[in-house]
C-alpha cells in the first residue's frame, strides 16, 4: 500500500477526528433528547402522583358518603319485596280479595320493566265488585307493608237500572311493585373498619330518614255515601216512593229528636246538677234512645228514605249521631257497673279492718277476693286512693296468714327492765333485736306477748 504523505496524513487525521467528534456530538444530542423525554415522563408521573394523592386525601370523606348511601339505600329498599316474596305477594292479594268480598276473574303478570337495580313487577287483576268492595281492595294494596303502587284502574258501571243498591261493576286494576337487585353492579368496595365507621356515622344515616311515602291513608268505608256509578234517580214505575219533601221532613224530625237527646245527655254530665237530677236525665236519655231506635228502624226497614242523596244525609245527620250517643251512654253504664261505688269501697275497707283486728285473716282475704275485679280502678280515677287502702289491708292479711303458719312455740320469756329481754322460742333463746331467720326478727319481749317484725310488718304473738 502506498504510504500517505504528510498532507494526506493530516487530512486523514482531521477527517477521522471530525467524524469521531461529530459522532460523539450526535450521541450527546441523542442522549439529551432521551434525557428530555425521561424528564417529561418523570414530570408526568409526578403530576399523576400529585393527582392520585389529592384523590387519596379524599378517600375518608368518600368512604363516609358511600357508607351513608349504602345504609340509606338498604333502609329504603326494605319496603320493596324480595324475590322470594312474590308468592307471598300473590297470597296477600288473595287475602285482600277475600277480606273485600271479591273473587278474581283473571290475574296476569305484565311485562317486567325498570332498569338497573330495580325491576318492575306488575300485575293486572280483573274482577266484579261493588264500589265499596273495589275501594277496600285497592286500599289494602295501598296500605300494604311492602311498596305497591296502583298504576292504572278502570271501573265500568254494572248498574243495569237507576237507583239500585250495591250495583256490581266491572273492575280492572293494575298494581306494580319493584324488586331490588343489590348485586346488579358487582360487589361493593371493601371499606376497612366498616362497623366502627358505621357507628360513627349513625347520626348522618339517621338524618337521611326513611323513604317518604306520604301520609298513610285508610279507606273510610261507605259511611252512608251513595255509589257514584249508579244513576240516583227514582224509577217512576212500580215502587211506592215517599215524596222527596216527606223524606227531607223525616230527616229533619229525626235530627231534632237526636239533638234533643244529645243535649240532655250533655246536661246530665254537668257538675252543677244534683245526683238525682243526673240519674233522672240519664234515664230519660236511655229511654229516649230506645224509642228512637224503634222509630229509626221502621224508617230503615221500610226504606222510607229512598233517595240515595238523602240516604247520605240520613247516615250523617241521624245514624252517626245516634251511634255516637249510644256509645257514650253504654260507656258510662259500663264504668258505673264495673267498679264498686265509693260507699261500697268504704264498706269493704271497714269490713276488712274489723276482720283483721278480730284475727279472721282468711275471712278478710275471702272478702277481698270476692270483690277484687270491682276495685281495680285505674290511676287517676277518684276511687284510686280507696283501692290502694283495700290492697294495703289485703297485703297485711296475707302476711299475717303466712306468719301464723310459721311454727313458733314460746316456752318462756325473760323480761328485764335494765337490759335486753329474751324469749325461749322453739327451744332456743333469742334476745330483742335478734333475727330468727332472714325475714323474722324479735322486736320486743313483754310479759304476756312477743312482738315480731315479719316482712316489714309488726306482728304480736300473745298467749
Amino acid at each position: 500500500m502506498a504510504r500517505l504523505n504528510e498532507k494526506q496524513t493530516l487530512l486523514l487525521i482531521a477527517g477521522v477526528t471530525v467524524l469521531l467528534c461529530g459522532a460523539a456530538g450526535g450521541g450527546v444530542y441523542w442522549a439529551q433528547d432521551l434525557i428530555e423525554q425521561e424528564n417529561i415522563a418523570v414530570t408526568d408521573q409526578e403530576k399523576q402522583i400529585a393527582a392520585a394523592r389529592a384523590k387519596i386525601a379524599k378517600i375518608p370523606a368518600v368512604e363516609n358518603e358511600v357508607i351513608v348511601l349504602r345504609e340509606n339505600v338498604a333502609e329504603y329498599v326494605k319496603i320493596l319485596p324480595q324475590e322470594a316474596e312474590l308468592t307471598k305477594f300473590t297470597r296477600a292479594a288473595q287475602r285482600f280479595a277475600m277480606l273485600s268480598g271479591i273473587s278474581f276473574d283473571r290475574f296476569v303478570p305484565l311485562r317486567p320493566g325498570g332498569k338497573g337495580s330495580f325491576e318492575r313487577i306488575s300485575y293486572q287483576y280483573s274482577f266484579d265488585a261493588t264500589l265499596w268492595q273495589f275501594l277496600k281492595f285497592m286500599s289494602f294494596f295501598e296500605t300494604y307493608e311492602r311498596f305497591v303502587r296502583v298504576r292504572d284502574f278502570s271501573l265500568a258501571s254494572g248498574a243495569t237500572k237507576a237507583n239500585v243498591e250495591d250495583a256490581v261493576h266491572k273492575v280492572r286494576l293494575t298494581v306494580e311493585t319493584y324488586l331490588y337487585n343489590p348485586k346488579s353492579n358487582g360487589k361493593g368496595t371493601m371499606i376497612p373498619n366498616y362497623e366502627a365507621k358505621l357507628k360513627q356515622l349513625r347520626h348522618e344515616i339517621a338524618a337521611a330518614g326513611s323513604l317518604d311515602l306520604g301520609e298513610p291513608y285508610e279507606f273510610r268505608g261507605r259511611e252512608g255515601r251513595r255509589d257514584i256509578f249508579v244513576d240516583p234517580r227514582q224509577s217512576k214505575e212500580g215502587s211506592k216512593i215517599t215524596p222527596l219533601n216527606d223524606q227531607r221532613r223525616m230527616i229533619e224530625e229525626f235530627s231534632k229528636l237526636i239533638s234533643s237527646l244529645k243535649e240532655k245527655w250533655e246536661h246530665s254530665l254537668s257538675p252543677e246538677i244534683t245526683m238525682f237530677e243526673r240519674i233522672e236525665l240519664q234515664r230519660t236519655v236511655s229511654n229516649g234512645l230506645d224509642e228512637f231506635e224503634s222509630k229509626a228502624s221502621y224508617v230503615t226497614q221500610n226504606k222510607l228514605i229512598k233517595n240515595p242523596a238523602l240516604n247520605a244525609r240520613w247516615y250523617k245527620e241521624i245514624q252517626l249521631p245516634y251511634k255516637n250517643l249510644v256509645a257514650k251512654v253504654k260507656k258510662q253504664e259500663i264504668d258505673r257497673n264495673r267498679f264498686l261505688p265509693k260507699e261500697g269501697m268504704e264498706a269493704l275497707i271497714k269490713s276488712m279492718r274489723e276482720k283483721l283486728l278480730d284475727g279472721e285473716l282468711e275471712a278478710a282475704v275471702t272478702v277481698y277476693t270476692q270483690t277484687a275485679n270491682k276495685i281495680d280502678v285505674p290511676k287517676g280515677h277518684p276511687l284510686y286512693p280507696l283501692r290502694l287502702k283495700v290492697e294495703g289491708l289485703m297485703v297485711r292479711a296475707k302476711v299475717a296468714l303466712e306468719f301464723s303458719a310459721i311454727p313458733l312455740k314460746v316456752t318462756g320469756v325473760l323480761v328485764r327492765g335494765d337490759s335486753k329481754s329474751g324469749v325461749i322460742l322453739n327451744g332456743e333463746v333469742y334476745e330483742e333485736g335478734e333475727y330468727i331467720n332472714e325475714t323474722l326478727f324479735v322486736k320486743a319481749v313483754r310479759e304476756d306477748e312477743v312482738e315480731f317484725v315479719y316482712k316489714g310488718f309488726s306482728l304480736v304473738k300473745t298467749w
Partner: protein
C-alpha cells in the same frame, strides 16, 4: 534527482513522525477523547440518573395507584348508590293514593246528601299512568248531572275544583254537557258530560313540593279543549 540510501537497514537513521503530524494527531486525540468523554458523561451520567429517577417515580406512582383505584372504585360506588337512592325516591314520589282520590271524589259527588247544588253520577272511570313521571296520570270520567239546569254542572265543577287532588291537576275539561231525557225516571232530564283530566308530572305534585305542603297556593291547571 533521486536520492538512494545505500546503507543497510540496521545502520540507517530511524524515520521520525513529523512534528506537524504529531501535533495534529495529538490535537485530534484530545478532541476525540473530549467528545467521547462528553458523550459518556451525558449518556452514562445524566441519562442514567434521569432514568433512575423515572424508575423511582414509577415505583412511587405504582404505590399510590392502588389507593387511587380504591378512590375511583368508591366514587363509582357513590354514583351508583346515589342513582339507586334517586331511583327509589322517584318511584316513591310517583305513588298516588287512589283510594284517597276516590274517597274525595265520592264526597264531592255525594255532597252530604245536599241535592240543591248538584246530583251527579258516572258511567265509568279510567285512570292511566304514563310510564315516566314527566306526565301525570290521565283520568277519564264520563258522567251525568241530574236536572235541566246547567248551573248544576258549574256547581259540580266548583266543588271538584275545591278538592285536594285538584291542586295536582294540569289540564281538565271545561264545563259542558248534552241533554238526555229518560221518561222512566224522575226527574227525566240530565246533562251528560265527559271529563278528561291530566294531572301534573309527579315532581310537581303537592306532596312532592315541600313549599306547597305548607299551604302555598299552587298554580291552577288549564282547561283543555272540550271533549268531543
Amino acid at each position: 534527482m533521486i536520492r538512494i540510501n545505500l546503507l543497510p537497514e540496521s545502520y540507517r537513521k530511524s524515520e521520525r513522525t513529523s512534528p506537524k503530524i504529531f501535533a495534529v494527531a495529538l490535537l485530534a486525540v484530545i478532541c476525540v477523547c473530549s467528545s467521547v468523554g462528553w458523550f459518556g458523561t451525558v449518556y452514562f451520567g445524566d441519562l442514567e440518573r434521569v432514568q433512575a429517577k423515572r424508575v423511582q417515580t414509577k415505583e412511587r406512582l405504582d404505590g399510590v395507584k392502588k389507593r387511587e383505584l380504591l378512590y375511583d372504585s368508591l366514587v363509582q360506588e357513590k354514583k351508583d348508590f346515589s342513582r339507586r337512592a334517586d331511583t327509589i325516591k322517584q318511584i316513591a314520589k310517583g305513588r298516588r293514593i287512589w283510594t284517597k282520590f276516590c274517597d274525595e271524589l265520592i264526597d264531592v259527588i255525594t255532597n252530604d246528601g245536599e241535592m240543591d247544588r248538584h246530583v251527579a253520577w258516572f258511567s265509568n272511570i279510567q285512570v292511566r299512568s304514563p310510564g315516566d313521571g314527566s306526565k301525570g296520570p290521565i283520568i277519564v270520567l264520563p258522567g251525568f248531572v241530574q236536572g235541566n239546569d246547567i248551573r248544576k254542572i258549574a256547581n259540580l265543577h266548583d266543588d271538584i275544583e275545591a278538592t285536594e287532588f285538584w291542586r295536582d291537576m294540569a289540564q281538565y275539561t271545561p264545563p259542558a254537557g248534552s241533554k238526555k231525557i229518560d221518561g222512566d225516571l224522575y226527574p227525566p232530564e240530565s246533562f251528560a258530560f265527559s271529563w278528561q283530566w291530566t294531572m301534573k308530572g309527579t315532581d310537581k305534585w303537592i306532596k312532592n313540593t315541600p313549599g306547597a305542603r305548607l299551604g302555598k297556593p299552587s298554580k291552577p291547571g288549564k282547561p283543555s279543549k272540550p271533549a268531543k
